[in-house]
Symmetry: C2
């Protein structure tokens, strides 16, 4: 094991341990801080500025070209051009964060997008009614802010509250709906929103201050529906057995979401009634189950969902802990297997406005692939399975404490473990790293077979060669010896783990190939590949290319865009106008059903093969 | 007592007993059947055609001019030109009814108005999803009928019901809201609506078949809030004492409305779930209390209501027994004392489209007066008190069984009693009749004083003169001797009853005068006076003019338009487009606040004096 270096990011205080040579940019991503990088990490856009306040080293050439000598002396660096050589404390200015934690969203080109928050509070000093102005109470309020619809409980409070407060009051509105009226000025208690990313495996909830346009807290947990099966098909299969199972699945995910809300509220010490708007992005099946809609028809051709356009329901109807009048926005979906999470991601990165060929890939249990080209949008899904999330891998685990998240194999095996702990298993990114390096070293061949110690190239370091162990007629590669493992059992990459990765990677790569062909493009024509998903954040791009998951094109064109589903869900809470655009995206995207594509099986078969050392992945493209 | 004649109307079977000489038109009104009469009963418009099937007498000249000899022999007559001389059976063709019990509403000029019912059921045979048509279930339905929003419970049923019924289903929609989906064709169970007229004294509910555009049943009862006070001011005063009283008043009227719904359902043997739309028209205070909104601010200048634009709430929120997704439409109001019932009436008779000066008067406990002139609309209210509904009159009662509803005093006293029973009291119309005839006979003078037997004109028949009796220093007029009365006590008109009528009539007449002056019109300039309200139906126009209640103009220009508040409430259920027009009427009507008008007190004082025998009522106009 290599010595790991500690990197502390301020002002958040988030801390990670990384292998020497890891860039500050990558370390920040590991800490959940995605920095701006429209150049793809080439050091040319100069957006990822950070200030190193402890552990300052020599600046790189790109840093010298960017900052003045004074700034360099104060520790200012470009994160993507600064490798970690010792332990650091790094100050991250808000303006360098990718998901600008501000009301101002940025589109694919970094242009500012502003909008109206889903819920607003306003303090009004209204004139009291007099002879010459006998207008009705509700109309008196509406005169200041535009037409208002008031639900009965609020309307009933209206006259008393207005008069008790001498017509100085605070109104809370969602569009033209009056959600609350309070005496005096209560705008200091900002309205809050919660954005949910409902993944097949992982649930993420973000608490938002809708007035300031900032994130207050994030919480994540496993989707407890995994106990019913780890992919969408298993959930659909269960749902087909009866509405009782749909209700069980619904309660399971809603219960977990309420748990996340509870965490967010505990962390920020506010009551649930302050949550006034919610947005939910998930794949079609997840959104169906979240709403208690039976996804049975998604289990058979032609995979017809129950709904397509966006939905909106009061939080209590869905069973969510929030203000009783809070509305929950559920993203529109594109098709049976291209859902609201994809629409959300497309919205977050404005694929509808992309001017050059852009590929968007959300790598999850269900992988979604979107291609924007010449004003047209194509979307498809590929069932990658949960291998990238560490499942179905012998020593796999989620990217939590104890998971190896990065592996470098050269003349030794270097592992970086989350939480600076003993390794308990490996997560998806490390799986890719390991297989990529084993391909480079010739320990795994193009068919995916792990070679025996005698078959492996002679150039191999002895310390590496001895990691190859025979297991039941196949070979495995030992990443962590039993003595160094937390569990006391060796952490190994087995032959069948390589097969699982070949299936997962092949499904996505075949999807990409078919999409490119559909648009008449070669991989090299792509201006950008946007990698989304919690997993996408941490992937080593060269390694993803080495295993054939991502197409062969200059690595700087591959950009991390973070949890795009969450970003879009936050976006529609910060700017409700974007809901119309989400609808438009969903309507205008052509759904490419890979299962219906006669060439998919052939592409899939080829994409499961690893690319040659210097070559492209095999493809019909 | 004169012998009364029985008139049976078919096909309804409604039966009334009337004094000889009463027209068939008036008898029909008494039976609740308002016939068409754009000419005002002059026999020129020929709309009030009826067929007398038993008791056929000689036809009048107007009837001879209208019908062929064969038709005359078959009993066809104009109802307004046919006095009742013997007991009759009368067949009323649907086309002769004023409130056309059909989807086709008519405007002031008799033009047909058609529209979209508030709720519609449609049977759809949808194509099942196939490879080439994988569209979502909700979109599949919406493709046939336009965009649909589905509440959660309906959306949850959607996939199962569609598939159970092989995609042949019946949808129930309210605008773009999907209220229900059922397997197969259930359109035979038409969607029903209930139109409420929420009067200060009387509640009327009408059950409607929204598919056929017909009335199915009508039920009425006393507004139980009268136990808290018989006018709106008393209710407001109570509400000012606290929200608990508002809730008590709300429960009281909602309970009674549910009682009416129960009657309607019993009569038609349908379940409450069939009621899918409701509409409520009442004065501003009544609508506030119906919704549980505190009308306290209506109790003081400047009488600001809680809301002005129309409201819509789910029936369960208001506590009404109907389908859980049924929406209750509550009319917009114009001002603190000109409410949704007036807007409803104006809509029903399209005052917004009146081309000639038109006065609309709804005579109730709170009288509303609307004037349409040159595209402008003026509305005001006058607190008439409940005298016209029989309250505050010594022997007064509502127009129910046992009430004298018509009185003729010539050389004797002729009374017509509702239900062919012994008289128990007199209702508002009879009060006007009695005072008008006593004015004509000189027994009451212009100041309203009942003269003693010695002061009264010498021409008086002895049988009439002996009805004048001295009571506590004043005089009273005995309408029914104790021996002929149901209660065993004489039914008399007392001096203070005349004063009550002077107050009630004067308030309305003063309002009319001020409205006319506002528009620069004399009474004779009016093209039409539309008399609305349950009471307005039965009034004798000449008598109403004699006491000064209605302005002096040719009697045929005064037309009965029935319960206009109910008509408008039905209209918005039969044609939801009319809701926009109701909003426009409410917004465009100028509210004339009589209490703010410096000349109102003077007008009121003068209007309380009765007109001279041949003269006009005193007025500044």
């Amino acid at each position: 094991m290599s010595a790991e270096l500690k990197v502390v990011f301020q002002p958040s205080g988030r801390t990670v341990h990384v292998l020497p040579g890891t860039t500050v940019f990558e370390a920040a991503a590991r800490a959940g801080l995605l920095l701006r990088a429209p150049c793809g990490g080439k050091g040319t856009c100069r957006k990822c500025r950070v200030q190193i306040t402890r552990g300052i080293g020599e600046p790189s050439g790109a840093c010298r070209a960017t900052f003045s000598p004074d700034e360099l002396a104060q520790g200012w660096r470009l994160a993507c051009q600064t490798p970690v050589a010792k332990s650091l404390v790094v100050l991250v200015p808000e303006g360098s964060l990718f998901e600008a934690a501000s009301k101002i969203l940025t589109d694919a080109d970094g242009m500012a997008v502003t909008g109206t928050p889903a819920v607003q509070k306003r303090f009004l000093r209204l004139p009291a009614p007099v002879d010459t102005d006998p207008v009705a109470d509700l109309a008196r309020v509406a005169r200041e802010v535009g037409h208002l619809k008031a639900p009965l409980p609020v309307l009933r409070q209206l006259p008393d509250i207005l008069r008790a407060a001498s017509f100085a009051c605070t109104i809370t509105t969602a569009g033209d709906h009056l959600l609350a009226i309070e005496p005096g000025d209560t705008t200091a208690d900002a309205p809050l929103g919660v954005a949910f990313d409902i993944g097949t495996t992982t649930l993420v909830a973000t608490l938002l201050d809708l007035a300031a346009g900032r994130e207050l807290a994030v919480a994540a947990t496993i989707n407890p529906q995994v106990s019913f099966g780890d992919d969408v098909i298993s959930r659909i299969t269960l749902a087909r057995e009866g509405d009782g199972f749909v209700e069980e699945l619904r309660q399971s995910v809603i219960g977990a979401c309420n748990g996340l809300i509870g965490e967010l509220l505990d962390e920020t010490a506010v009551p649930a009634e302050r949550i006034l708007a919610l947005a939910v992005a998930g794949n079609t099946t997840m959104q169906h189950l979240f709403c208690g809609l039976n996804p049975a028809a998604l289990g058979e051709v032609p995979f017809a969902p129950v709904y397509a356009r966006a939905l909106s329901f009061p939080a209590p109807e869905l069973g969510l802990a929030a203000h009783p009048l809070a509305q929950v926005y559920v993203f529109p979906n594109i098709g049976g297997f291209v859902g609201g999470d994809t629409v959300s991601g497309m919205l977050a990165h404005r694929l509808d406005k992309a001017e050059k060929p852009t590929l968007f890939v959300d790598i999850g249990t269900n992988g979604e692939i979107v291609l924007a080209h010449q004003g047209r949008l194509y979307a498809s899904s590929a069932a990658a399975g949960p291998a990238f999330e560490g499942a179905r891998i012998t020593c796999g685990m989620r990217a939590t404490n104890g998971a190896i998240e990065k592996i470098v194999i050269d003349d030794a095996v270097h592992c970086n473990v989350i939480g600076d702990a003993d390794a308990a298993g490996l997560c998806g990114t490390a799986l890719i790293d390991a297989i990529a390096d084993l391909l480079r070293l010739g320990i795994i061949d193009e068919t995916g077979r792990i070679l025996g110690p005698d078959e492996a190239p002679g150039s191999l370091a002895a310390a590496v060669r001895e990691r190859i162990v025979a297991v039941n007629g196949d070979y495995a590669f030992e990443l962590v010896p039993a003595a160094a493992s937390k569990t006391g059992e060796a952490i190994r990459l087995y032959q069948r783990d390589v097969r699982e990765l070949q299936l997962a990677s092949g499904a996505i790569r075949a999807g990409i190939s078919i999409m490119l062909r559909k648009a008449g493009l070669a991989a090299g024509d792509l201006d950008a590949v946007l990698l989304a998903g919690g997993f996408g954040n941490y992937i080593r791009r060269e390694n993803a290319q080495r295993i054939g998951l991502l197409p062969d094109l200059p690595v700087e064109r591959i950009r991390f865009v973070g949890n795009a589903a969450s970003t879009g869900a936050k976006a529609v809470l910060f700017a409700r106008e974007l809901r119309d655009q989400a609808e438009e995206i969903a309507r205008n995207t052509e759904h490419v059903d890979l299962s219906m594509d006669p060439e998919f099986q052939m592409e899939f078969g080829m994409a499961m093969m690893f690319p040659g050392e210097f070559g492209l992945a095999m493809s019909l493209v």
